[in-house]
Symmetry: C2
Subunit: 399 residues, 2 copies
């Protein structure tokens, strides 16, 4: 697995360090001898690598392990609170911030609501203010930050750190990555919002041992993060996972993408909220929704649905059936081991999950359908912010 170092090869040195760290991460704690066996590196090489990693603060000695005959070995673990990363999920109505350390321990989770349609300038200001205020309060050293991950609901050019388009934020051609790099003074990684959730599920969630899986996020839009053969799949030009534009009704509602009858126009929170609001405005009686004088919110709709409101349940259920069509087609096409449904879907999953799995059973081929796990994310609305924070951390482990 690791490669024996010959000469002063910086690449190999970093590669071997990452392998050692990742083994310790996976096993929680290992002795130098165990590391030597697992990596195939000599005890001398392992000693040298772990010495560097202890000196640099990535590892620490945590007392003695079990003896296998002879002296009890000193065990090594990842050092909590030694290095950090910050992740931001930039949504339509709020910004989420997560700070984690290299053990993936979550140190800070914040959310800041804002009005719809925030400008890039405003987001940069909020990120700067919130980050520096937080690290001061929490007494986290700025220089210990490995980097910042940004979760964006859109299509990105990751080489230039540029947002090509984020329709739900009304942003296009924005150089957000380089702007935030200046402000936060650390490496910045921009990533699609659904892919951030997939990273989260792969690093600390249900999919840590799964090679091929798809994370579907239901939000203002519907997108997917796809892992294939243990790694992120982005496609030819970085836009893979735009599953929200499955045509579920050939002559249906006009979608923002220019097509008609897309999944998003029936199953995204934005369209479901609009449909219910319009029905109520036009006189539909929906007594389980508190008929406030203000505007309906998504939370109000979910609450009303849990109380049995007929209109809300109907709209959520139709969305779930169409989402089931997309899940079935992904199962047929990609034959994944797991599909994780996340973000806003988790808020009403108990109401529609049976209907969705029934739909999948009816609509997907039996063979791949009987070999896939369909899961609801355990991270609720936080998966993308968590995944964004994990991006710089994964780099330490060579991922």
């Amino acid at each position: 697995m690791a490669k024996n170092i010959t000469g002063n090869n910086q690449y190999l040195k970093e590669f071997n360090q990452a392998v050692v760290l990742d083994l310790i991460r996976q096993h929680k704690r290992l002795s130098r001898k165990e590391l030597s066996v697992l990596t195939g590196l000599s005890p001398t090489a392992c000693g040298s690598i772990t010495r560097t990693l202890i000196k640099d603060g990535f590892l620490y000695e945590t007392g003695q392990g079990e003896s296998t005959g002879g002296r009890k070995p000193v065990m090594l673990e990842l050092k909590p609170g030694s290095y950090y990363a910050v992740g931001f999920d930039i949504g339509m109505n709020e910004l989420k911030m997560v700070i984690a350390d290299i053990t993936s321990e979550i140190l800070v989770q914040r959310e800041l609501k804002y009005s719809q349609g925030i400008s890039t300038e405003k987001v940069i200001d909020i990120i700067q203010e919130e980050f520096f205020k937080t690290i001061e309060t929490e007494k986290l050293s700025h220089e210990k930050f490995l980097g910042c991950g940004l979760s964006i609901p859109g299509i990105l050019d990751r080489e230039t750190n540029k947002i090509i388009m984020a329709p739900n934020l009304s942003w296009s051609e924005v150089n957000l990555g380089s702007r935030i790099r200046e402000v936060l003074d650390m490496p910045i990684y921009i990533e699609n919002e659904a892919m951030c959730s997939a990273i989260c599920e792969h690093w600390i969630g249900e999919c840590s041992n799964i090679s091929n899986f798809v994370c579907i996020n239901v939000e203002s839009g519907i997108g997917a993060g796809i892992f294939i053969k243990e790694s992120i799949y982005r496609g030819h030009s970085g836009s893979a996972g735009e599953i929200g534009h499955l045509i579920v009704n050939e002559n249906g509602r006009l979608c923002g993408c220019g097509s008609k009858g897309c999944l998003e126009t029936y199953a995204s929170t934005r369209y479901m909220l609009t449909e219910i609001s319009e029905k109520i405005k036009s006189g539909y009686s929906s007594d389980k929704i508190v008929q406030s004088m203000g505007t309906l919110t998504w939370d109000m709709i979910v609450n009303a649905a849990f109380k049995g409101d007929e209109l809300c349940v109907k709209v959520l259920e139709r969305g779930a059936v169409f989402l089931g069509f997309a899940v079935a087609y992904l199962i047929n096409t990609l034959n994944p081991e797991a599909i994780v449904l996340g973000k806003s879907f988790t808020s009403y999953a108990p109401l529609v999950m049976d209907l969705l799995t029934k739909t999948v059973k009816e609509r997907a081929l039996a063979y791949p359908a009987s070999r896939v796990k369909i899961l609801t994310s355990n991270f609720g609305m936080s998966s993308s912010a968590l995944g964004a924070a994990m991006i710089p951390i994964r780099k330490v482990f060579g991922k």
Copy 2:
């Protein structure tokens, strides 16, 4: 790229031989010195490897190359006619056979028609008879065959060489691989029919330098072979690529899979043929089809459509629109660099290709749609048989 041999390591030896052969395949001809530079192996190691490969008949010396100062170097090429592979495409109505050599030169192409619904026993008999008759006629030595690839329209268990289900052949749970291995006495590789076409496009076709692409075969069913990151993608349990069950009409025709309104029920040759036959039986006037006393065939329909037959054109066009929906969704979801439409589609592609690409433009996101090539296969009905023959050949090159 290659690995320096230390000790008597059979794996490394074979790995290095494959690397050398693949470099020569890609460059057509190379000198030993060029091989040494490209592989990073010492001239001595390169000399040893090429000596073995010449002795075993994979390479031969083809005269002198250009001098770069000093003696003109001796050039090495793959040796034509030295080793062979055979591929069979087992279709609903015919068996295709291809024999090729390691230079991918096609030596034999045969097809044998049979009546619909052939048994496995019959197929094994035909394969045995046809293969041995052919190698006798063509004077090909049996012992020079590297193996046999079998293209099957179904879901396979490649580890056991077993066909799990091939609905259009009405086969399930058949141990075809091991049976044919006994009969032909060579290694057997079974592979999905659409994946065979994808292998063909990747090895000798339009996709030889493309990392991420999808080959769609329109036949009795509609399936896809997916390449991701330069390699075959099969999914968690080997059934990826079943794209024929996209729901294009929520309450449409019942499909063999149990779902309703699947793409296959509108755009596969079988359903299109059935629809046209039934319309004509029920009195629809379709004057450009020769109203023979016998049963309509697919070829008759394609001919009639080229002559402008209204019914045939209408059915082919509707199939193409729905196929366009599937292509659009694959573009959105997988963001491939190319999509190749093949097999029966190639017979009527000129009639519908404009409509299909127009549909894709309307229905896919502009960003990935503007970055994909939509192609018609150049191999017509032969792509799966060709791809099947390439499977044992690819192994020589470490693929």
